[in-house]
Symmetry: C2
Subunit: 234 residues, 2 copies
């Protein structure tokens, strides 16, 4: 694999781990152990980190950039299951499968860097640290909650709802009235994430704009009245 570097004596990374929700419960010895079984991987947009069906030997932590986890239908349609950004970890749940295989493709969106930790090494640490065990479980619980929400959205709601819902998810908590947000990724990526076509996304934004609820200028969207938009879901 190219763009791979060892992590010996990377004190900045060590400090990062100490503040990370998944690793903060570990002591110095344990930190050293997992770093000895980890490596850094740099990637560009379009680089493939793994494919669906590959044997899963690593869990990952994002350090910079962004990437997408996605599946393809037989006729080549792409559904993005998740967009990953720092400081998220992913593929944790692979650890507990009998024959671990990644269930999605993984590809870079914006160039960046991930740290890969060997699953076997991390599993061994879990036995020693119930607190870390709990952190993993809390993490998995959050993922499950997000899945319930997504399944509900996909089966109970129409595309209009999904677009509005996505916009509202970008509003900082507590914000009210007029809010300016910037789309974090290209629109075609967003469309694949919320399971609509780029055309439908474009048209829906247009309708919202015509109705005076938002203003669109490239990837900057001004929500004129957050509450009104929230109620607008029909």
């Amino acid at each position: 694999m190219h763009s791979v570097t060892p992590l010996s004596n990377n004190s900045e990374l060590a400090r990062e781990l100490r503040h990370h929700y998944l690793f903060s419960a570990l002591d110095d010895t344990q930190h050293a152990t997992i770093l000895a079984h980890a490596f850094s991987r740099r990637f560009s947009a379009g680089d493939v980190l793994f494919r669906r069906g590959d044997a899963a030997e690593y869990i990952f932590m994002m350090r910079s950039g962004s990437l997408k986890l996605y599946r393809l239908s037989q006729d080549g349609h792409e559904k993005i299951m998740r967009i990953i950004r720092p400081p998220q970890t992913f593929a944790e749940s692979m650890m507990f499968m009998d024959t671990p295989r990644y269930p999605v493709h993984c590809e870079g969106v914006e160039a960046g860097e991930v740290i890969a930790f060997e699953i076997s090494a991390f599993l061994a640490l879990l036995q020693e640290s119930f607190a870390t065990c709990r952190a993993v479980m809390a993490q998995m619980t959050q993922r499950i909650q997000a899945h319930w929400d997504e399944i509900e959205t996909l089966s109970l709601q129409n595309s209009h709802y999904r677009v509005v819902h996505y916009l509202l998810s970008l509003v900082p908590p507590g914000a009210e009235g007029e809010v300016r947000i910037t789309l974090p990724v290209r629109k075609v990526i967003i469309a694949a994430r919320i399971a609509v076509t780029p055309e439908t996304l474009s048209r829906t934004l247009r309708t919202l704009s015509d109705n005076g609820l938002i203003e669109v200028e490239d990837d900057v969207i001004t929500i004129l009245d957050t509450d009104a938009l929230r109620k607008r879901i029909h």
Copy 2:
């Protein structure tokens, strides 16, 4: 709460736990502990076990009957997230939330019985038993896999596919050629499970029947050629 009975000296239940994937790693003392913090709950079809938003104090193990976990949209449409049958457990992932609340409604479909275990007691046991911890995580991993699959199905596939996919999921593993299956629940329940209307389900079964792929007689369906049906997904 009515239909609730204590579990002291229920030796049959104790034996059941010993063979259950979630509890088999516990020793006799630990079994006694959780049984001291558990109760049995009988229910009929239509009985509400909990509602979405209720504080989650228990995890559950099905002993008999069946029930549904579901959500409602604003306009009253029901999406069944999961059908539970023995010997499944559910709501395990609630244990790791900060302020645990059930994220779905739970209602009886066929009369039966569940065992409710206090979350606090079970959490305490997890600290002592890494093996049980692992069992919980393996369980959550399976749920996550199932969610990925469902999200993929909902976003990449049409209703025809979902019906065929559901039928195939009822075929016993390894079966080939002509297979006779019985629908496990009423059709309206199945429809809500796979996110189509009862009308669409009915029409799709009709089409498959007209094309000579299946034969339908009430809740008994004969799949004439499993492989042909598998390929029929378009």
